[in-house]
């Protein structure tokens, strides 16, 4: 496949692995967090960590949009899906996420009309095709997916589609990163920055990582060579005693981001004062709601949702996994009580979740050398 295979070249990968080895300080252990769930997925899918020396540890960050949605919020979605006359639409990853009693897939089996869409525009199309029904779109994701929700809402408004609404659970990436860095049990040497989010917000918002916390960042693409090169960039910063935001994904990420996407997000969304993150608790100004101008399309205003806060299951250590404090396999229920087919925590549900990625792909990696 053109423009893809070039970034999966095994020979170039080995060359980069050699350069990484050369950039290491002997005996030092490096912990680098890849923020984005898409990176976690790529790392396991291609076995990228097999090419890294054992003393370079990749820590999986909080950037899986499905994984950070708290149980109470899933319950709210399920409650909406059970409303008579509602077609509930969401991305495929979301249907298997366990709420406190059931998942959206279970709700579907019980008769709720739950449909998987690939884009919010598909949900809007369903709304236009079913004028007598109410169509709700469960909007999740970081700044990556928020612009497409915003665009859909702008279109719904322009075309006066009244039977369409959005349950907005969009979140933003900077507040949880800040929360992580403030957490006392965390030790990280640097960050692989989220390439997709940065495509929208730009590289600039990550400047606080070097400026305020002294941590090097490399904004990275999603192919295996991108990831290896980003690891190398972070390691070289560490070796040189530098801390800055470097843009490995410059072929896609502009420093200032996508100005038009940011404009439309500004128009359609407003910051929530606080939002609960699975495993991380409440983080202020970390999520988006619909702006007053778009209140008419806000599913949470149109319907009554229970909005009951549900504590994370006791046995589940998704929070520690999301913070990178423990590895997935160190969780007490990993792989036994909590498996991809019967997930307890959300990290086990989405293929981008650290636990699911490790369970599905990572268990029998090659033996690695220590540099």
């Amino acid at each position: 496949m053109k423009f893809v295979d070039e970034f999966r070249d095994a020979e170039l990968g080995r060359a980069l692995a050699g350069e990484i080895l050369a950039a290491l300080e002997p005996g030092r252990h490096y912990k680098i967090m890849e923020v984005c769930g898409g990176h976690t997925h790529s790392i396991y899918k291609y076995g990228v960590d097999d090419l890294l020396p054992a003393n370079v540890e990749l820590v999986h960050g909080p950037g899986c949009p499905v994984c950070v949605i708290p149980m109470g919020r899933v319950d709210d979605g399920i409650s909406l899906a059970h409303e008579p006359g509602v077609i509930f639409t969401c991305f495929g990853d979301m249907v298997r996420v366990p709420g406190s009693n059931q998942s959206l897939l279970d709700a579907k089996a019980q008769g709720a009309d739950v449909r998987i869409v690939y884009s919010p525009l598909d949900a809007l199309r369903i709304a236009k095709q079913n004028p007598d029904l109410e169509i709700v779109f469960f909007a999740i994701g970081f700044e990556t997916t928020a612009p497409s929700t915003a665009l859909t809402l702008r279109r719904a408004k322009a075309e006066h589609v009244g039977n369409f609404s959005v349950m907005c659970s969009h979140v933003t990436i900077v507040p949880p990163l800040r929360a992580l860095l403030e957490s006392p049990d965390l030790r990280l040497d640097g960050f692989i920055g989220p390439g997709h989010v940065a495509t929208v917000v730009g590289a600039r918002p990550f400047q606080f990582l070097p400026d305020q916390y002294g941590k090097p960042v490399a904004i990275s693409g999603f192919e295996p060579l991108d990831l290896l090169q980003s690891v190398l960039m972070v390691l070289r910063q560490l070796a040189d005693g530098r801390a800055e935001v470097e843009n490995q994904y410059a072929r896609v990420v502009p420093w200032e981001g996508n100005v038009r996407a940011l404009e439309i997000m500004n128009e359609v969304f407003a910051l929530r004062p606080h939002f609960e993150w699975r495993g991380l608790g409440f983080i202020s100004q970390s999520a988006l709601r619909l702006s007053d101008e778009y209140a008419e399309w806000d599913a949470e205003l149109r319907f009554s949702v229970p909005g009951v806060r549900v504590a994370d299951p006791k046995a589940c250590q998704c929070g520690e996994v999301l913070k990178g404090v423990i590895k997935p396999w160190e969780c007490k229920v990993f792989g036994t009580a909590c498996t991809p087919e019967r997930p307890i925590g959300t990290c086990m549900v989405s293929p981008e979740g650290a636990c699911a990625a490790y369970y599905n792909y990572g268990r029998f990696a090659r033996e690695r050398e220590v540099a």
Binding site: V48, D50, L105, K108, D122, E330, F334, G362, A365
Partner: protein, 362 residues
């Protein structure tokens, strides 16, 4: 210190593997679409509910077709149902699929297809033209597979209770004396052959539904596999351990089932697995691994090492087998696991499918 940690990790992984190797229980409170997807939920339904309830040694063998012997005549018996949506798609239709799917289950058991029964569930309002086209497709496919339709049944249900039509079949075939195939017969060292490019059927159906706004020239690979099996048996009969067509859940699910049944490991070289560029592109966009996409005319063959080369030549000479390749090898450890050597030089587990990326593809 580092070693201690990795000891703990391997201990935990050991516990997980023990849990995984246990016979799955069926504990769900109701049926969801996952139970029909050919992945883990399907396995729990079959091995946790059906097989124990019917307590039949033949069923427990978990082959594509059951073995029945009558007065020294060795038969294979199979049944299948087809609910594909849409009824017609590039490269085939529900009728053609019903015949090929059934005769392929027989072929995978090393049996030459003889006869089929056909049961049609028709929805009120189905156009006669559609029905006629499917009847023609069934007749043509049966002729091509040299199998006779010997019995049938028709039911009509109210509008809204079947999506146009469903087809149920039974197939009977004669087990070939050259074949001694069993899912638990795999031995370390066996070679894994794949009869051609993967993922066309599932992708063709997905695109034919028109919900994704993607367009590509991809046709279903539906075909009868008996001619290819016939050739394989000639070339490598005694060395042939097991055959499995990679339908729902794709090549990944088939390999996992057999790794578990034989208590062996498998290592697959990702770079060796052939995927058409259009299929690879669609899968890339949709975030689906082609190894999990359904096929209707491709199968994996496990062959003893010394027969592998002849078997591969025979496959390549068979209709639809020009693209056959060796994709990997059976190993000892870790039992029940399928590992992939990625084209990038890493290594990972390739587990059974969880959930259902694509319902009603056959």
């Amino acid at each position: 210190m580092a070693e201690l940690v990795s000891d703990r990790e391997s201990k935990i992984l050991g516990i997980i593997e023990t849990a995984r190797a246990k016979r799955p229980k069926f504990r769900d409170s109701h049926i969801t679409m996952s139970h029909g997807a050919g992945g883990k939920a399907s396995t729990s339904l079959i091995e946790g509910l059906f097989a124990p309830a019917f307590a039949s040694p033949t069923l427990d063998a978990m082959a594509d077709a059951g073995a029945v012997s009558v007065d020294g005549v060795h038969l294979a018996l199979t049944t299948d149902s087809f609910v594909v949506k849409p009824l017609r798609f590039p490269g085939g239709s529900i009728g053609e699929l019903a015949v090929n799917g059934t005769v392929n289950d027989l072929a995978m058991a090393g049996a030459r297809p003889l006869a089929l029964t056909l049961s049609l569930v028709l929805e009120e309002g189905l156009s006669a033209e559609t029905l006629r086209a499917e009847v023609d497709a069934i007749a043509a496919a049966a002729r091509a597979a040299e199998a006779q339709i010997v019995a049938g049944d028709t039911k009509v249900v109210e509008r809204g209770h079947a999506d146009g039509m469903y087809i149920c079949t039974t197939g009977v075939g004669r087990r070939d004396p050259r074949a001694s195939l069993a899912p638990d017969a795999l031995a370390p060292g066996d070679r894994i052959l794949l009869s051609g490019t993967i993922g066309e059927h599932g992708t063709a159906i997905m695109l034919a539904r028109g919900e994704l706004g993607l367009e590509a020239d991809i046709e279903s690979d539906t075909r009868s596999l008996w001619p290819a099996v016939d050739g394989l048996l000639d070339a490598a009969g005694p060395g042939l351990r097991c055959l499995r067509d990679a339908t729902r859940g794709g090549v990944a699910s088939v390999l996992n089932e057999l790794a578990r049944a034989s208590g062996v490991a498998m290592v697959v070289r990702e770079a060796a697995v052939p995927v058409m560029p259009a299929v690879a592109g669609a899968a890339e966009i949709l975030g689906i691994d082609p190894m999990y996409i359904a096929n209707e005319g491709k199968f994996v063959a496990f062959v003893a090492p010394k027969h592998a080369e002849r078997a591969l030549d025979a496959l390549r000479g068979a209709p639809g087998g020009a693209g056959a390749v060796e994709i990997g090898e059976v190993k000892t450890d870790p039992p029940g696991m399928v590992l992939v050597e990625t084209a990038f030089g890493g290594r990972r587990v390739m587990d059974q499918l969880v959930g259902d990326p694509l319902p009603r593809i056959c």
